[in-house]
Every structure is written in structure tokens, then in C-alpha cells.
């Protein structure tokens, strides 16, 4: 079993003068599935972007550790798998080419076996040689899971993981969340009851909006 932790220390985020959340102190640990919930505009996506070090918090700190060692921000991409509706892959490449290029840019050897396994699991194997521009939004969403899981990350961040997915797609995603959550850290930002039902603990963002405007 691995030991991956994410510690949020007094996180505050403003967009201009608008407070998104204030004073989030929380710790996430591997072998658990956590939920991040809140009404629209409560900052779910903002928080997962901050955790992924894609944007900076206004105040506060985030610390990622793996096996007791602090992970530097520049190295985080090696440990992180990320799925969201605002993530886009390359339309001019096929599904398999996307995964190949992404592996090489990550600096890891393309694992064809793993790629085939994931494409097969997400029901894309037959379409692996088709350009992404011909894919439906649901198929693109499935491919994002292959993208996120290909390098076997220790931290999986899923922002609205089941958007655009049909019933079988959702079931497959839930199956993966359950299996990944046994050994790794999974964070789900969502308002869907079915998504949050998989989570052992849920961070409610509406509880972190106390401060007066700046």
C-alpha cells in the first residue's frame, strides 16, 4: 500500500474582490475516496485546480507528500491523474496517438499493454485509430480516463467525472474509482449524488465562506 497525502493549510481564494472560499484546512490520505461538494460557483473546480497546482491560492499552502517525501510542484505531474470537462485532448490525433504523445512528453515509455487495457475497459479499443475530432463528447470523456490512468498516478482528481457519460460509462468509472481508491488517493469534485456516494468523506465548500469581502 502506498502513502500519498495532500495537506491544505488555511487556503483562501479570491477572484478579484470576490471570495471563493476561506480557511480550508484539510488533509487527504491515500486508500480513501474523498468528495468535494458545494453549490454552483462554490469553488469546487477552483479547489481541485489549486490542489493540482494549476492555479495558486490567494493565501495558504498545499503540500503533497509521497512515502514521507515532499513532492515539488514541478514533479507533481508525475503523480497526478486529472479528469474534467474543461480538459481537452488533441483532436488532430487518434486516441492511441494521444496516449503515445502524452506518455513520451511525460518522459515515460509508452506502455501499449496498459493503453490497450484502458482503451478496452472504456470501450474505445475499436475506435483507437480514429481521429478524436470524430469522437462524441462521451467518448472524449472516456478517453480522458485513459489519459489520467495511463501512468498509474498516486493521486486521481476527478472533476465532474461522469459528465457526458452514458449509463455503462458511469458504471465503468465507478468501478475504477472503487478499485483505485483501495490503494490510491481519489478526489471527486461533484454535485451528483451517485458520485458522492462513493466517497468516504465529503468536504462541503459552503462551510468555508465566512470572511468579509476584501
Amino acid at each position: 500500500m502506498t502513502n500519498y497525502t495532500v495537506e491544505l493549510n488555511k487556503l483562501v481564494k479570491y477572484f478579484g474582490r470576490r471570495l471563493i472560499f476561506d480557511g480550508i484546512d484539510y488533509s487527504f490520505q491515500s486508500s480513501h475516496v474523498y468528495g468535494i461538494s458545494g453549490p454552483n460557483g462554490s469553488g469546487k473546480s477552483t479547489l481541485v485546480k489549486i490542489i493540482s497546482c494549476l492555479i495558486s491560492p490567494t493565501k495558504g499552502k498545499i503540500k503533497h507528500s509521497f512515502e514521507g517525501k515532499v513532492i515539488e510542484e514541478e514533479e507533481l505531474h508525475n503523480f497526478l491523474g486529472f479528469v474534467s470537462p474543461y480538459l481537452f485532448l488533441y483532436d488532430e490525433f487518434t486516441a492511441e496517438e494521444n496516449l503515445q504523445h502524452i506518455s513520451k512528453v511525460r518522459g515515460i515509455k509508452f506502455n501499449k499493454e496498459r493503453s490497450d487495457f484502458l482503451l478496452n475497459e472504456f470501450n474505445l479499443y475499436e475506435r483507437r485509430s480514429d481521429l478524436l475530432r470524430g469522437f462524441s463528447s462521451g467518448m472524449k470523456q472516456r478517453l480522458k480516463f485513459a489519459f489520467a490512468l495511463l501512468h498509474e498516478p498516486q493521486l486521481l482528481i476527478l472533476d465532474e467525472p461522469t459528465s457526458n457519460l452514458d449509463y455503462s460509462g458511469k458504471e465503468k468509472v465507478y468501478e475504477f474509482i472503487k478499485s483505485e481508491g483501495k490503494t490510491k488517493l481519489v478526489l471527486i469534485a461533484s454535485n451528483e449524488e451517485a458520485d458522492l456516494a462513493l466517497c468516504e468523506r465529503v468536504l462541503e465548500l459552503q462551510n468555508f465562506k465566512n470572511q468579509q469581502p476584501r
Binding site: L54, I55, E74, E75, H77, Y86, F88, I102, K104, G107
Partner: protein, 219 residues
């Protein structure tokens, strides 16, 4: 190797989408045609052809080199890049892509100039090649960092030439001087100061770009 993988991804993407190549090729052809039409039968001086060469190169760079980052931003794939590589890898990959593009573009422009303009005669080829090499590196570095800055802005088209002009001006002025020297047949040693300026420009821009890119890249 990661940077090279990113370059390879960009190159294959470019060959399929032709975001930059078409823009550059059309711009070069149209600009040279306009120059030729406006000159007509007039005989222009060799210094003027040297100046025109760098004007065409400057504006061609404006039209095509911003695509390195703008195309990622427009397609929404910036986030994907942020999730798979460090800022240094991304900048190096994009710089390599722009370097290759600048060299291909500028070699084509120079060949066209030497074919179409009789007065474009370089007497000291080695001096011109040194200036050409260092100049292209400078253009590629500056264009790449400016492209990264403007890709985050809403009015990309206007901002690129506005930002590029002051940054590329010292480079273009030095290149004009060196092109004049190479047309006069001056030796490399007598043009040492200008070459040192070009070299320093490349080093300063390269260092500053790598230092700044982290801040530009992250929101």
C-alpha cells in the same frame, strides 16, 4: 528528451493542422510579391534589399510564430500540457519547434531574395551566416516567450506585434548592420562588436525567458 517529445508532438500536429506553416508561407509569398510590384523596374540598392530581407523576416515571424502557444490556448489543450510536463520542458519543446520553423522560413526567404533581387549580393558569406544563425536564435527565443505571454490575453492579434516591436528592435537593428557589413565584404573580426551584441541578446533573452516562463505559464 521530454522537450523533444513535445517538439515531435507539435511538429506532427503542425503537419496535420498547418496552423503556422500555411500562415507563414502565404505571408512570405504575399509580402515578397508586394515588394516586387512596388519596386517595378526600379533598381534598388543592395543595402535596401538587406533591409527589406529583415523586414520580411520580422513580419513573417509576427504572423506565424505565435501559433506555438496560441493554438494550444485556442484548442483548450493548455491544461493538458500543464498536467503532463514541467514548465521548463514545455518552453524548451516550444522553443525547439519555433527554432526549426524560423530556420526553415528564413532560409526560404533568403533563397527567394537572392533569386529575385539582383542587388542582393553577399560578399562575405561567413559573416552573413553567423549573423543569420544568431539572429534566428534570437527571433525564435523572443517570439516564443512573447507567444506565451499573449496566449493568455484576449486581444492576441494586436498584442503580438506591439510587444514584439520593442523586444525585437535591438536584434533587427544589429542584424541590419551585420547584413550591411557582409554586403560590404567586411571580415568577421572587424564586426566583432555587433556579433557580441547578437550573442549577448540571445543569452539574455534565453535566460530571462526560462526564468519568466514559470510565472507566465501558471495562472
Amino acid at each position: 528528451m521530454k522537450s523533444f517529445a513535445l517538439f515531435k508532438k507539435d511538429w506532427e500536429s503542425e503537419l496535420r493542422t498547418r496552423y503556422a506553416i500555411n500562415a507563414l508561407a502565404m505571408f512570405v509569398l504575399v509580402t515578397i510579391s508586394v515588394i516586387m510590384f512596388s519596386i517595378g523596374d526600379e533598381k534598388i540598392t543592395e543595402y535596401l534589399t538587406g533591409g527589406l530581407l529583415w523586414v520580411v523576416i520580422f513580419f513573417s515571424a509576427m504572423s506565424g510564430l505565435s501559433r506555438a502557444f496560441v493554438s494550444e490556448e485556442e484548442r483548450g489543450t493548455t491544461l493538458t500540457l500543464q498536467l503532463i510536463a514541467s514548465p521548463t520542458t514545455i518552453f524548451s519543446g516550444k522553443l525547439l519547434f519555433n527554432l526549426i520553423l524560423v530556420f526553415l522560413m528564413n532560409v526560404a526567404i533568403t533563397i527567394l531574395f537572392s533569386m529575385l533581387f539582383d542587388s542582393f549580393v553577399i560578399k562575405n558569406l561567413s559573416l552573413f551566416l553567423v549573423a543569420f544563425l544568431l539572429g534566428n536564435v534570437g527571433i525564435a527565443i523572443s517570439s516564443t516567450i512573447i507567444a506565451a505571454i499573449i496566449s493568455k490575453a484576449s486581444s492576441k492579434g494586436t498584442l503580438y506585434p506591439v510587444l514584439s516591436f520593442p523586444i525585437l528592435l535591438p536584434l533587427i537593428l544589429t542584424l541590419l548592420e551585420l547584413t550591411k557589413f557582409s554586403m560590404d565584404g567586411n571580415s568577421i573580426s572587424s564586426s566583432f562588436v555587433e556579433i557580441a551584441v547578437l550573442f549577448s541578446y540571445d543569452i539574455i533573452m534565453g535566460t530571462a525567458s526560462y526564468l519568466l516562463f514559470d510565472f507566465i505559464w501558471k495562472d
